[in-house]
């Protein structure tokens, strides 16, 4: 393409960048992306996609697969296909919110600790060490018992607890950036801490944080389903994949496939998230070379 080297022509429109990015994507990354978008589609349009309500009882219990009930019904006579779709919403929604919250809290504090250093860093780090010394599952259990296991409480508690893990990572990578000359230059310029964090540190640690996001997402999801196993996760009749696996888990030991469906939904999502994360981090590392 012919392009004169003027200032305006240097600005490539976003869609074109996205397109060219996609063209270079490895097949695995593309596959992950396609899966993620499919999930996103399902999440957004759940009420339109699901033929029946999340908790509505529509037929006899354990109805077989049929045209009307694609994947049959569960023990209460709820449409499994519809519940799977709604569960996407709840599961991904809660896990995503909690993960984001963890990254907002842990990320912000981690960067502050790395940039400010000194006693602030000491206090925050010791606090996080301490919180991490309390077993996560037990601590979550305690807090959920105290505050009740509403969706909000679940997100807040998991977000805060997982934030400790994010803090550690963020602090470590932000430390590496904080010693860079351009950060020193900003300091010498007299920039405020927040500006340094926002403009100098954050853009440069996004890629490791992003990589962590994939794993953290998995862990938080697993935590939610462990909690629901112990009776403190999302409460019925709300559908979530972990609980759906749990509800029908007994069937596994009889070799039935129903519980495999939500489990597969989880596994596919996890793999897709990590494929995309791998692709992005790979891309980012190539960029810095």
């Amino acid at each position: 393409m012919m392009m004169t080297k003027t200032h305006s022509s240097e600005k490539v429109p976003l869609w074109r960048k996205v397109l060219s990015g996609l063209a270079e994507a490895p097949p695995t990354g593309l596959l992950g992306l396609v899966v993620l978008f499919t999930y996103l589609f399902v999440i957004v349009f759940a009420p339109w996609l699901a033929p029946f309500g999340e908790a509505t009882i529509v037929a006899d219990a354990f109805a077989p697969w049929s045209a009307e009930h694609l994947l049959g019904t569960d023990s209460l006579g709820r449409d499994i296909y519809s519940r799977l779709i709604y569960a996407a919403r709840n599961t991904v929604g809660i896990t995503l919110m909690a993960t984001l919250l963890a990254f907002v809290i842990g990320g912000a504090l981690g960067m502050v600790a790395a940039v400010v250093g000194g006693w602030v860093d000491q206090v925050l780090s010791r606090l996080v060490d301490m919180l991490m010394a309390i077993p996560l599952l037990i601590f979550a259990l305690l807090l959920l018992m105290i505050f009740g296991s509403s969706v909000t409480a679940l997100i807040l508690i998991l977000g805060c607890l997982e934030a400790t893990r994010v803090f550690r990572l963020t602090r470590a990578v932000a430390m590496n950036v904080a010693v860079m000359d351009y950060v020193e230059a900003a300091r010498l310029r007299g920039e405020k801490m927040l500006w340094i964090i926002r403009r100098e540190i954050l853009p440069n640690i996004l890629s490791p944080l992003f990589a962590e996001f994939g794993l953290r997402f998995c862990f938080i999801f697993l935590l939610v389903s462990s909690l629901s196993f112990l009776g403190l996760g999302l409460q019925p009749p709300t559908a979530d994949w972990g609980a759906m696996v749990r509800e029908n888990a007994m069937l596994i030991t009889f070799g039935r496939v129903t519980p495999l469906l939500p489990a597969a939904a989880i596994a596919i999502l996890t793999i897709a998230v990590n494929l995309v994360v791998d692709w992005f981090t790979h891309k980012a590392s190539g960029l810095s070379k």
């Binding site: 010791r126 060490d129 991490m132 599952l137 037990i138 305690l142 696996v245 888990a249």
Partner: protein
Amino acid sequence: MNQLLMTVAKRLGLGLFTLLIISMVIFLAVEMLPGDIATEILGQMATPEAVAAIRQELGLDQPIVSRYFDWLSGLLTGDLGQSLATGQPVLELLDDRLINTLYLAGTAALISVPLALGLGVIAALYRNTLVDRAVSMFTLSAISMPEFFIAYVLILFISVQLGWIPSMSKVDADQSLLERLQLTILPAITLTFVTCAHMMRMTRAAIINLLSSPYIEMAYLKGLGPWRIIVHHTLPNAWAPIVNVIVMNLAYLITGVVVVEVVFVYPGLGQLMVDSVAKRDLPVVQAASMIFAATYILLNLIADVVSIVSNPRLLHPK
């Protein structure tokens, strides 16, 4: 060497302080739970008089601060107190279960750590090839499965259909080590699935991270084979991050396996802790938390020591 001792001493001091704070946090958290041991034991059958009587008997009517300090002074004299629910000394309640928990964690670690390291090394060696992708996919699928799901699937195949290993891992002190091992193997495999991916990914990443180091190129230029380069030249320098993640997973194996204990009916600390929280059995909760927290602190200390020992710069300063 001196620095090592200093680090250990400093960490231990800090660890003790952390334990103190944690004991307060847990104490407070259990206090904040609705109800107490009296209402939980009596449940639906609670009458106000019986509740009051239990509270008085157990001293729950005392102010929280004085109860905390009673507990603390007991702890300092080595007395962990008695279970509020059963009146048994906490130490008695804990010791068998602690051994069980450690045994399970140990078995799981013996399987998963070498496996994760091996897979990580293989993935790093054949990075970006089909082998790497397959290992990565497999481990990712494994961690995306809830523990109980993996456990049930294992039980279905190995216990119900093949009948090789009992589905219930009820170990006790009278069993021989071998019997124990047989009973522990299924939960251990389940935990391997759960923990392996994290360690494997970190191993792979830590190794690949170092592969662009000049000394690795140097090793290639010395004409060394890929295995020797990975094992002899890369791994020793990758220990710090790998040990860190191993330690985190070991801590998880010790402190976070309630679900696996429930599914396999394994008498470990996790179930005890959850039951005790549910019944507000504070001395037991406290003791278990202290064990968990101390484990975590000690494991981290070990990780630091390994980092120092594996790094000649830290072990032999100029």
